[in-house]
C-alpha cells in the first residue's frame, strides 16, 4: 500500500519537481508511471526510497510514515521494498548468486536460508545455469533478471522498477515484463516507471501519467498515449 498526500518537492536549485500530488496504490496492484523525462517520475521513486525528503506532504508505504523515519531506520525500511534500476546496479565483484545472496546476508539470513532461497529465485528468473557468472559475463537482459531476483529475494511487499527495460531490446524487454507480471501475480505490488509505449499498451494495467510535477491522468486499464 502506497499513499502520497499533498506531496510537493522543490529542489534546492528552485526546480519544482512535484506539486501537491495525491496518489493511492493498493496492495497487489501493478502500476505504470509514465510521462516525459523531467516530469517527476524519478522524484516520486526517490521519495518512495527515502533518498530525498518531500518539501511538504506525507508519504506512507506499507503502513510506515516514510517522512518520520530516522537515518538509522532507513536501511530497515528499504529492506521492505525491492528496487530495480535501468542500469541493473549489480555488485561487479560478486557472481550472480552472490549478488542475490548479499541482499539476504544484509537482513541477517542464515546460511541455510540463503542456500535454499537463492536457487529458488534464480530458477524463477531462469538463470540457474548462470549462477556463478559475474555481471560483466552476462547480457543486459540476464543482468536485469539477476537484479530482479535480488529485489524479490526477501519477499518485499512492494517492487519499484525505474525503467527496467530502458537498456534492453524489445524481445528481451518482453521477457522481463512477463517476469514482472509473474511476480505481481504472486501478490507483490509493482510500480514501474517507463517510456516504453508498447509495453504499457500490451500489459493493460493501471497507468499514471505525470506531467510537470502533477498527475495528469490515472486510468485503471490504460494505454500509454491516451486518445485525446
Amino acid at each position: 500500500m502506497i499513499l502520497f498526500e499533498n506531496v510537493s518537492k522543490t529542489y534546492e536549485n528552485g526546480v519544482v519537481a512535484l506539486h501537491d500530488v495525491d496518489l493511492f496504490i493498493d496492495k497487489g496492484e501493478f502500476v505504470f508511471l509514465v510521462g516525459s523525462s523531467a516530469a517527476g517520475k524519478s522524484t516520486m521513486i526517490r521519495l518512495m526510497m527515502k533518498e530525498i525528503e518531500p518539501t511538504s506532504g506525507n508519504i506512507v508505504i506499507n503502513g510506515v510514515d516514510v517522512c518520520s523515519l530516522s537515518r538509522r531506520e532507513i536501511p530497515f525500511f528499504r529492506r521492505t521494498i525491492g528496487v530495480v534500476f535501468q542500469d541493473y546496479r549489480l555488485l561487479p565483484n560478486k557472481t550472480a548468486y552472490d549478488n542475490i545472496a548479499y541482499a539476504m546476508e544484509i537482513v541477517g539470513a542464515s546460511r541455510r536460508e540463503i542456500r535454499r532461497q537463492v536457487p529458488n529465485v534464480l530458477s524463477m528468473v531462469g538463470l540457474t545455469h548462470k549462477a556463478n557468472m559475474y555481471p560483466n559475463e552476462l547480457s543486459g537482459g540476464e543482468q536485469q533478471r539477476v537484479s530482479i531476483a535480488r529485489a524479490i529475494v526477501n519477499n518485499p511487499a512492494v517492487l519499484i522498477a525505474d525503467e527496467p527495460t530502458g537498456n534492453l531490446d524489445p524481445e528481451t524487454a518482453k521477457g522481463i515484463m512477463e517476469l514482472m507480471d509473474d511476480i505481481n501475480r504472486r501478490g507483490t505490488t509493482i510500480i514501474m516507471a517507463t517510456h516504453a509505449e508498447n509495453i504499457v499498451n500490451t500489459m493493460q494495467k493501471r497507468v499514471i501519467r505525470v506531467e510537470s510535477g502533477a498527475i495528469s491522468r490515472d486510468d485503471k486499464k490504460g494505454g500509454y498515449s491516451y486518445a485525446n
Binding site: M49, E51, R72, P75, F76, F77, R78, R79, V83, R89, L90, L91, P92, N93, Y102, A103, E105, I106, V107, G108, S110, R111, R150
Partner: protein
C-alpha cells in the same frame, strides 16, 4: 556483531584486497613507507636512551688525596667524611700504584716503555665515587673538595652536560616527529583509501539501496584497512631489521663507537614490531572509517 557476520566481513575484506589489487598495493606501500620512517625514529630514540644511560653509568667522580694525607693514615677518615654526603651510591679506594698499573696495562708495548723510568707511586691515591644522580656531580664535587686532605676532584661534568642536552633535545624532537608522522600517515592513507573508495562508491551506493546498514558496509572496509596495515607493519619490520643490522655493523667498525655500544636488534625487536602492528592497524582502521563516512550518506 554476530560471529556469522564477522566471518563474512573478514572473507569479504580478504577478497576485496585481491580484487582491488592495485589500490591495496598503493595503500600497502604508503603504510610501509610511513612505518619505516617511524621505525627510524624509534630506533634512534631507543639507542639514544641507551647511550645516555651508559654515559650516566660511566659517570664517576675521581677524588685524589694528598700524599701527606695518605702517609699519615687519614684515608679512612676522608672516606667517612665523603660517605656523609648525600647522593653517593658507592665509594671505592684505589692506591696510586694500582691506578698507574691499570693505566700502563691499557698501553701498547712501545708506549709503555716511555713510562718505565717513573716510580710506581707517581699517581696519588684516590677514591672512585659513583653517584645516584649525575646531575648533582658539580655540587658534590665542590663539597668534597673542601675536605682536608683532598688534593683535587675530577668530574666529567662538561661532557655529561653535553651528552644530556643532546639526548634530551633529540628525545623531545623525536616524540613530536613521531606524532606528526602518524598524523600525516593517517591523512595520506585515508586519502589513498578515499581514492580506492571513490572507485567503489557505486558499490556502496548499491549496498545502501538494498538496505545495508552503515556498519554492515563499514566493517569489511575497516577490516580491509586493518589487514593492509598489519601486512605493511610486517614488511616495514623486516626492512627496519635488515637496515638496522647493517647500520650497527657499519657503526661498530668505526673507532668512535668503541666506547659506546648500540643495542642488538634481538633485544629491541618487540619495541619495533608491537608499535608497528598497533600503528598499522590503527591507521588502517581510522583511515577507512574516515574516508567511507562521506559515501555512506545516501
Amino acid at each position: 556483531m554476530p560471529i556469522r557476520n564477522f566471518k563474512r566481513f573478514v572473507s569479504e575484506a580478504v577478497s576485496n584486497i585481491f580484487k582491488n589489487g592495485l589500490m591495496s598495493i598503493a595503500s600497502l606501500f604508503i603504510t610501509v613507507a610511513c612505518l619505516f620512517i617511524l621505525g627510524v625514529f624509534l630506533v634512534v630514540t631507543i639507542n639514544l636512551n641507551y647511550i645516555s644511560k651508559q654515559v650516566a653509568d660511566q659517570c664517576q667522580i675521581q677524588v685524589y688525596i694528598t700524599r701527606e694525607a695518605s702517609n699519615t693514615g687519614q684515608i679512612q677518615n676522608i672516606s667517612n667524611q665523603i660517605k656523609t654526603i648525600e647522593g653517593i651510591s658507592d665509594i671505592e679506594f684505589k692506591r696510586g700504584e694500582d691506578t698507574f698499573a691499570e693505566f700502563k696495562a691499557g698501553l701498547s708495548e712501545e708506549e709503555r716503555a716511555s713510562y718505565n723510568g717513573l716510580p710506581d707511586n707517581v699517581i696519588d691515591d684516590s677514591f672512585k665515587i659513583t653517584l645516584h644522580d649525575i646531575s648533582e656531580a658539580g655540587a658534590i664535587s665542590e663539597r668534597i673538595s673542601t675536605i682536608s686532605g683532598v688534593s683535587r676532584v675530577e668530574n666529567r661534568q662538561d661532557m655529561i652536560n653535553i651528552v644530556y642536552s643532546i639526548t634530551n633535545a633529540v628525545r623531545h624532537v623525536s616524540v613530536w616527529i613521531i606524532l606528526i608522522f602518524m598524523f600525516i600517515s593517517v591523512f595520506i592513507i585515508s586519502n589513498t583509501i578515499k581514492l580506492a573508495l571513490y572507485a567503489r562508491r557505486k558499490e556502496i551506493n548499491i549496498m545502501k539501496y538494498v538496505g545495508a546498514t552503515d556498519s554492515f558496509i563499514r566493517w569489511p572496509f575497516m577490516i580491509e584497512g586493518m589487514l593492509v596495515g598489519i601486512a605493511g607493519a610486517i614488511i616495514a619490520y623486516f626492512i627496519v631489521q635488515s637496515c638496522y643490522s647493517a647500520g650497527v655493523a657499519a657503526l661498530n667498525s668505526t673507532p668512535t663507537m668503541s666506547l659506546l655500544t648500540l643495542r642488538a636488534f634481538g633485544e629491541i625487536w618487540h619495541m619495533i614490531l608491537i608499535p608497528f602492528v598497533l600503528v598499522g592497524v590503527l591507521i588502517g582502521a581510522i583511515g577507512s572509517a574516515l574516508s567511507i563516512r562521506k559515501y555512506l550518506k545516501v
